[in-house]
Amino acid sequence: MVIYQLKDGSERRVDVPAGHSVMLGAVQNDLPGIDAECGGCCACGTCHVYVDPAHYGRLPAVEAMEDDLLSGVAAGRQATSRLSCQITMTPALDGLVVRMPERQG
């Protein structure tokens, strides 16, 4: 399960199957706040999320391409910024909390 904090302050809990990305969980459940224009190809930077600081350490490290793309995201990069298409769900990530940024484009 992933907990998405939406821009209006509400929270949505979604069962994202292992192997699916956190981006896909949002898009396929029609959660507002993630555009994912490139569909997860790490090419657009419109699937940006802020990972809850308490959870950030649970994620595998940011790879070079994601790191480069994060430098250009619209809402501004923060310490726990990630691209949700690059976070693949595993049982170990159950309960992950992410927040949608102010804007994606």
């Binding site: 898009v27 190809c41 930077g45 391409m65 250009g72």
Partner: protein, 408 residues
């Protein structure tokens, strides 16, 4: 206004038209009609991750069913529209049903250009446009094969990269003297050719294809090149471009010229009909003549504009064109339109595999291509959107801060 909208097509442009109409307050019924058996899905992975087996089938859907339900979008699948009657404002399906519309959106896309050589209809010749195409190809890939890709454009090269990565023996045959000649400058074509060769792909340039030879039992056996050489082949994949789907529109009397002609708000000359995506030619601020683009960005953004027009709130479509292609570990991204440039500046070192090319026409920045620099791609799009003034010398100087141009 009780008949609502009919949107013909089942992909990016169609989906974004429906969404654009709703976002602009359209309240009547919306029916989306697609001849495919699936809800709109992503096409880029069909030659990349999905072909290579890295992405699952259920990860391809553009939206979940909830989206269509929540937005009151009725989707009719496996339904082909065969005619438009503009007087009566109806579309006719292949099964003979008539559907009335107040507004009609055409999001018909494009179909692969077919090979016109002997042997083109042999078993084992593939084109890649739809999920069905890729599924059929994937079924044949269980054992290592010799594969000949005809066409060194984006799709051909992505297919070559995916199949080579899977361990197949791949050759690419390109008629022109360099790869992706339509959209890339020679330096990048050479870079891509070198990369493919480095992965064991045989790249044949300036090479025509004369015939596909069969094995006598109706299956592909080899590809005969115009220079007389022959390449053994279990499978042939042709990626020689696409043809826009204009038949329906032309038959209904709408103006077409290698694309349905629309204005900058995606409207045809018929006030009830809009069109968007691969099937459309439109006036762009980024080219001197009306252009037809084949990209997710164009289908999505122009689709949104078309949806707004259907809702009675037309808005100009002016987004910066962008595109990407993944081949092996190389992420090529393009912003703006580079054809017609008169100067080019390299930022970074090509040898390192991370660099950008900045294109200028008459002193103005017109396009930015990046290789493995997605952040600079986003920056390039912003610079183009802002019409930032930048010189080739500044672009080539890595110590020059491009971001500063935006703050100014």
């Amino acid at each position: 206004m009780a008949e609502g909208l009919v949107i013909v097509g089942g992909s990016y442009a169609a989906l974004h038209m429906a969404q654009g109409a709703r976002e602009n307050g359209y309240g009547e019924a919306i029916r989306l009609i697609s001849d495919e058996p699936w809800l709109p899905y992503q096409r880029p992975p069909l030659s990349k991750g999905f072909l290579a087996g890295k992405i699952e089938r259920d990860a391809l859907a553009l939206k979940g069913e909830a989206f269509y339900r929540d937005n009151g979008i009725e989707v009719l699948l496996e339904t082909r529209v065969s005619a438009i009657d503009r007087q009566a404002r109806t579309v006719t399906t292949a099964a003979g049903a008539n559907l009335r519309y107040d507004g009609l959106g055409l999001a018909l896309g494009a179909r692969p250009r077919l090979l016109k050589i002997a042997g083109a209809d042999l078993d084992g010749v593939f084109y890649l446009r739809s999920l069905a195409d890729t599924l059929a190809l994937r079924e044949r890939l269980a054992r290592p094969l010799s594969i000949v890709v005809i066409g060194g454009g984006f799709i051909g090269l992505e297919v070559a990269a995916s199949l080579a990565t899977l361990g197949h023996r791949v050759s690419v045959v390109e008629a022109l003297e360099r790869l992706m000649a339509r959209v890339l400058p020679p330096v990048l074509s050479d870079f891509m050719a070198q990369m493919h060769r480095g992965r064991g792909v045989e790249v044949r340039l300036s090479a025509g294809v004369q015939e596909i030879k069969g094995d006598g039992a109706g299956r592909v056996a080899s590809v005969l090149c115009s220079d007389g050489s022959e390449l053994a082949a279990d499978i042939v994949v042709a990626g020689i471009g696409v043809v826009p789907e204009t038949g329906l529109a032309a038959a209904a009397g709408l103006a077409c010229r290698d694309g349905i002609l629309v204005d900058d708000a995606a409207r045809t000359a018929d006030p009830a009909i809009v069109a968007a995506g691969d099937c459309v030619r439109y006036p762009s601020a980024f080219t001197p003549d009306p252009c037809r683009l084949e990209s997710v960005q164009n289908a999505s953004d122009q689709g949104r504009a078309a949806g707004a027009a259907l809702a009675g709130k037309p808005q100009a479509y002016r987004a910066v064109p962008w595109f990407w292609s993944d081949q092996y570990e190389c992420k090529l991204q393009m912003a703006g339109l580079s054809p017609g440039h008169d100067r080019l500046a390299l930022r970074g070192a090509m040898a390192g595999g991370r660099f950008s090319l900045f294109y200028f026409r008459a002193g103005r920045l017109v396009a930015v291509d990046t290789v493995n620099r997605p952040g600079e791609h986003l920056l390039g799009r912003k610079l183009l959107a802002a019409g930032a003034s930048l010189t080739p010398e500044q672009a080539a100087d890595e110590s020059f801060d491009l971001k500063a141009l935006l703050a100014a």
